[in-house]
Point group: C2
Chain length 207, copies 2
């Protein structure tokens, strides 16, 4: 089974490859792909080895073939319908960002417990009530959800999403979720990004 850390790097490779494709680049060496994605060529070769060999030694990879392959590996060659729960400040920003650019993973349903929010639109997607979740999630074939509710309700809402058929959750709520083993939870903590950035302005200079 492919390591989660490899799966996390694939979208970065894809981003670089798509950019190269636009620039008309046909072949890319692992050194160049490494340089542009911020990883080492050994890391890239290791990651890609899980999916079979694509490159020609001494020549490199076909940009078109490699990007198509990674796109398929991730399931991004078709639309992947997603739900967002918690249309607050963060949820609204994420929904607007997602819906205002072309993306394979697309938010098709938004849920919130606040009756004053239910019924309003975020970029053409209406905010639905929580009791409609099971029906809408099943109907739209949603298996991926973004969780942007308060920590206090995160576990209950996550369980509800799983009961509705969701198998992958991008969790922004600062709460550890306990869910069945078949559910992939990706927690996000943006303070980790601030903590690494601190190195460059306040960190120790090790020689």
């Amino acid at each position: 089974r492919i390591p989660d850390v490899t799966i996390k790097r694939l979208p970065i490779y894809l981003r670089v490859l798509d950019r190269m494709r636009e620039q008309g680049v046909d072949i890319v060496s692992s050194a160049e792909l490494a340089r542009q994605s911020g990883f080492t060529s050994e890391q890239i070769r290791k990651d890609l080895a899980y999916f079979g060999a694509f490159g020609t030694r001494g020549v490199g990879y076909s940009v078109a073939m490699l990007s198509d392959r990674i796109r398929r590996i991730l399931g991004l060659h078709r639309e992947v319908p997603a739900a967002l729960v918690g249309a607050g400040h963060l949820g609204t920003a994420l929904a607007r960002y997602n819906l205002t650019r072309p993306q394979a993973v697309r938010i098709v349903a938004i849920f919130d417990a606040d009756p004053d929010k239910v019924g309003s639109l975020i970029e053409t997607v209406p905010i639905s009530p929580m009791d409609a979740m099971e029906d809408i999630v099943r109907e739209k074939g949603v298996r991926l959800a973004i969780l942007t509710v308060p920590a206090s309700v995160a576990q209950t809402v996550a369980e509800r999403l799983v009961r509705a058929g969701v198998e992958a959750i991008l969790n922004f709520a600062p709460a550890q979720l306990r869910l069945p083993p078949g559910v992939q939870v990706q927690p996000i903590d943006l303070s980790l990004e601030l903590e690494s950035l601190s190195y460059y302005v306040a960190g120790e200079r090790v020689s």
Copy 2:
């Protein structure tokens, strides 16, 4: 010079070590640290080697010493004052998240161009006008900023932050910033997280 990818992993190790410290764990093997942080023990050993040896072969690392060391490497043993520019949906969510929990990197100033927002508070921090940026950033010793403005103004606002003394920017705006070499820019694109999560619900099952 230490690779950026190593610096990005350090806060994750620190998170795990702090948790262990709370649990009263004194010694941790690189295998256990690897298991809990999601990386391999070789990766951890390689990363830590940049900062000198800390572990005892066959025994492991002192949890207290290693966490203190990483905290100092990142500069998180003191408060690191940060500014946020763009108090919209995303900026407001990030500021509230940052200011409602103890963190070394702390938002001490918020700026926005909207006169209707200037003067209001986010968790005790007032929203200041853009023309006060240079003064406030210098006065508070801010060298790290979070950019959550629209893409159309990101470059100009970033340049302004740099002129004010900022040397590290966490950039959420979907715009590539062109800044002097001494400025560390960390772009964030949360759609990359959605794209990797897609693998678990829509991706290819490679045997």
